[in-house]
């Protein structure tokens, strides 16, 4: 089955003349049609459009003819872009290609299929999608994680070869961990955010979700680069990340933050991560304990800054230029209030209200400025730690995938599951999640993810460690 193959394998097949882009698109479409009803990874997919692109594909390009599935918050011309929301579900069609999509197309890839997600990327289970449930392919009674749950479920369930996700507080890495695939959040500014529907602009970053570390490196090669249409895009050259693949890690210094290994981690997750640490040590890495003293502030800081930015970003949904428009408003104020009340779901409303509150007169200094200061301390923690070590290791998520509906009425408990991933976004650093073991629960084997965090712009080392670990298992 081609849909179960890696990009690297398929590219070899195309180059050798054994398979065509059309074969691949048809096989992925068959996989979607066979299994999407139970997994719910995709919200929509246009086989005819993808086949037309497959016919035209320039297979001499590095991703030539490879279909890539896209989280439903990135604009691809003519396709829906629902963000998992009723707000955009009715009739929105993207009028342009996002920066990351332009890069993918320039390298020959075919954007194919729209992936489910927590509404406006707010959540870590994909249960906040207003448009359908996504299930974990390893256990259909459990969540795939989120917010890029559709991306991880599609890739891990072999309904996609690779996918794009977006990560604001762990939304690529955590679902990759929970579904058992690879997900990397690049350094903030590496990949253009132009055309990615903004959640928290100072934290959002697009990245690959793939079956292998090598694929993550390859796909990242063709996503990175300066984009004048994103004012936070970094004007720096990205190296060839695939060159890092296959290098050994002898003498590489790996830091274990003592604050991360205290309590609240599921025993099975802990055992898998400890085994991974021993494995990396056996490959020649030097393991050191480090300290990130302000770890405790991460989640609190995030839940001020991200909702604050979201409340401003989502102000654009006014029912005038695009999105849902209420039919029952009597005046302009009601038009805004009703259109937004009808279009947004509960978690989005909760975060807009929280963000509006922390930015409102009298609370701005007490919450917003205070959180920005805490962000400085969290960032400084990493700067200090990276004077001693090359990468930092932790579980991606403290828990394996929970049951659908389990955390429905407890938003705070759900927020705390992002404790290891959030600080990485606050500091703008690259982080990958790579499968490192399984936990047996109720007769099912649930994946555990290992998070490897690197210095700013040092995705190469992160990928090198992840690949060495992946290959040694």
């Amino acid at each position: 089955m081609l849909a179960a193959s890696s990009i690297t394998t398929l590219r070899k097949g195309i180059t050798a003349g054994e398979i065509t882009p059309r074969d691949i698109v048809l096989d992925v479409a068959r996989a979607i049609e066979a299994r999407n009803a139970e997994i719910g990874a995709y919200l929509s997919w246009d086989v005819d459009a993808a086949l037309a692109e497959a016919e035209r594909a320039d297979t001499s390009k590095p991703l030539g003819g490879i279909p890539i599935a896209v989280k439903d918050n990135m604009n691809v011309t003519g396709q829906p872009c629902t963000c998992g929301s009723r707000m955009l579900a009715e009739n929105y069609k993207a009028p342009y290609d996002a920066g990351a999509i332009r890069r993918l197309r320039a390298s020959g890839a075919i954007p194919f299929g729209r992936l489910n997600m927590d509404e406006f990327a707010m959540g870590s289970s994909s249960e906040n999608s207003a448009l359908g449930i996504t299930r974990n392919p390893r256990d259909l009674s459990r969540v795939p994680g989120g917010s890029s749950g559709g991306s991880a479920a599609a890739v891990a369930g072999d309904l996609a070869i690779a996918a794009l996700g977006s990560d604001t507080g762990g939304s690529i890495r955590q679902p990759a961990a929970l579904c058992g695939c690879v997900g990397i959040k690049p350094t903030y500014g590496r990949v253009s955010r132009y055309g990615l529907v903004a959640f928290a602009s100072s934290l959002d970053q697009i990245g690959p979700v793939t079956k292998t570390v090598e694929d993550a490196a390859l796909l990242l090669n063709h996503l990175c680069g300066y984009d004048a249409q994103d004012s936070t895009s970094l004007n720096v050259e990205a190296p060839d990340f695939t060159a890092a693949i296959g290098q050994d890690i002898k003498g590489l210094r790996i830091g274990l933050p003592k604050e991360y290994y205290i309590s609240g981690i599921h025993a099975g997750v802990s055992a898998s991560v400890q085994a991974a640490i021993r494995q990396l040590e056996s490959l020649g890495a030097i393991i050191e304990e480090i300290s990130l003293p302000h770890t405790e502030l991460g989640v609190a800081t995030y839940y001020v800054l991200a909702p604050a930015e979201a409340s401003a970003n989502l102000a654009r949904f006014d029912g005038v230029r695009y999105g849902h428009r209420s039919g029952s408003a009597g005046d302009l104020m009601e038009h805004y209030q009703f259109s937004r009340a009808e279009g947004f779901g509960p978690e989005v409303k909760r975060r807009i209200l929280l963000g509006t509150y922390v930015l409102s007169s009298g609370y701005y200094d007490a919450y917003y400025i205070r959180a920005q200061k805490a962000r400085t301390l969290i960032r400084n923690d990493f700067t200090e730690a990276f004077k001693k070590v090359d990468v930092i290791l932790s579980p991606t998520s403290p828990m394996p995938a929970h049951k659908l509906g389990e955390l429905k009425d407890n938003p705070l408990a759900a927020y705390l599951e992002d404790v290891f991933t959030i600080p990485v976004n606050l500091a703008g650093l690259p982080g990958i999640s790579v499968p490192c073991g399984n936990v047996d629960m109720e007769g099912k084997s649930l994946p555990v993810g290992l998070q490897i965090v690197g210095k700013a712009l040092d995705e190469a080392t992160v990928l090198r460690v992840a690949h060495a670990f992946e290959q040694s298992r």
């Binding site: 100072s202 502030l297 005046d331 937004r340 409102s360 920005q372 200061k373 805490a374």
Partner: protein, 96 residues
Amino acid sequence: MSEAHQIDIHHVAKLARLALTEDEARRYETQLDGILSYIDTLTRYNLDGVEPTAHAMPVYDVLRSDEVRPGFSQDQALANAPKCLADQFQILKVIE
């Protein structure tokens, strides 16, 4: 208003241009109060003299030359509008 954080949920909802039912207002007020109690972790640290960080990477005031560039046509810009009239976005009457 909630006890601990004095959240006037109706005022916040108005600022956010969100219509809430009474039931929603009560539920969000309670939930926000709980989340803000957790966020109060931030008050346990002395942050005096710490510089605020708005962005993790140092990118400031990116400007471009003031030149005309191609953009959307009127049709493209209006294509996703829920209501249009005479090639313009249509809103409710604001002037009597």
